[in-house]
Symmetry: C2
Subunit: 212 residues, 2 copies
């Protein structure tokens, strides 16, 4: 397998965690997003969106981190990223999607570039934007986690899964503009427990070969 | 089942299509998003994000349209929303996620409100923003669909599935600021074929009881 990524990409970070949890190795192919390497014609052939991650496996190119992670879970079931019962699976997927749909895309590099270019947004304005969407998402997540008996040491029960895989890179991103995490004690606790695991720690941006 | 929605919500539109394709009925509970009804305390108990859709079923509340749709597919397998082979499932999920992660959230009502409030964006500026992100997503989708032998009358083969369920509401949204769809002939063709099906036509915003 080849994982096309970038050390700072939190979507690639998710896939790195997933590979580590499954005990899978993948050759790392970094693309420097801030230098625009993801727009190189050869890479656009692999992923016409010009986004990382993309996973080359079984003669195919898989795109979109969540679909890659579900693929890894379907083809390597142990340890599972989702519980067995459909209602529980829906719960875990919905936690993951709060991050993957409702926080991450709005704070993506291309969106911040648009704000700078078209609205003349400076770093203070960008920081307010960035933390606003993380704050809205984390506030809802904290309430959901607090109100659900299935919350354990991790987002669901006592083993990390799909929701943690999405949440932890977002918590790392929250440091970019120094978001205060004290209103989110459950999220913070889950973060600490995840980062104590080699699968998460080894996937951290700072641990990647292309880290700056 | 009770579906909490709003006629204009394209995430609720996805779930309406999914229910129709599975031949399932659900009591419709509309929440007028532009009047802020999704922020009512009773609704926030059901969904702390204050978003629609939410599906009440089996004594649980399911949130996030994609997790609801996967739940419906896991519990009512016919007709399937995803193919059987993991690589194909990943492909279909990735098409759906281009819409669900990389287009829809950036154009959501709350984001447009932020642009108006914090950047003083007028309707011309909002329209440019809106169509920019749809255009980027549709351009990549069109290339992916064109280059993939699995593309058929629908996004995957000759029956509608998860990718079409996400794509069609986004094509309907593209009319909001009159995006020119001629650069996207495959997407346009799939849209026409989907809208010829009662499951899609009956889920259209204009066909809902709360439509204005």
């Amino acid at each position: 397998m080849k994982l096309h990524g970038y050390f700072r990409s939190s979507a690639a970070f998710r896939v790195r965690i997933a590979l580590n949890l499954k005990g899978l190795g993948a050759e790392s192919v970094p693309h420097h997003l801030r230098h625009g390497e993801q727009r190189a014609p050869e890479y656009l052939c692999l992923n016409p969106q010009g986004f990382v991650p993309a996973l080359e496996t079984g003669g195919a190119v898989l795109r979109q981190s969540l679909s890659i992670i579900e693929y890894l879970d379907e083809t390597r079931p142990t340890p599972p990223f989702l519980p067995a019962a459909p209602l529980d699976r829906a719960h875990v997927r919905s936690l993951a999607l709060v991050v993957a749909c409702d926080i991450h895309p709005i704070n993506n590099l291309r969106v911040l570039k648009y704000l700078r270019r078209e609205f003349g947004a400076d770093e203070t304005v960008i920081g307010a934007w960035y933390n606003h969407w993380i704050g809205e998402g984390f506030q809802a997540l904290e309430v959901i986690l607090q109100g659900d008996a299935r919350t354990g040491a991790f987002c669901y029960g006592d083993a990390p899964g799909l929701a943690d895989i999405c949440l932890i890179p977002q918590v790392v991103n929250a440091a970019n503009y120094k978001l205060d995490l004290t209103p989110y004690p459950l999220i913070s606790g889950i973060f600490d427990r995840c980062m104590a695991l080699p699968a998460f720690a080894g996937a951290h941006p700072s641990a990647q070969a292309d880290a700056e």
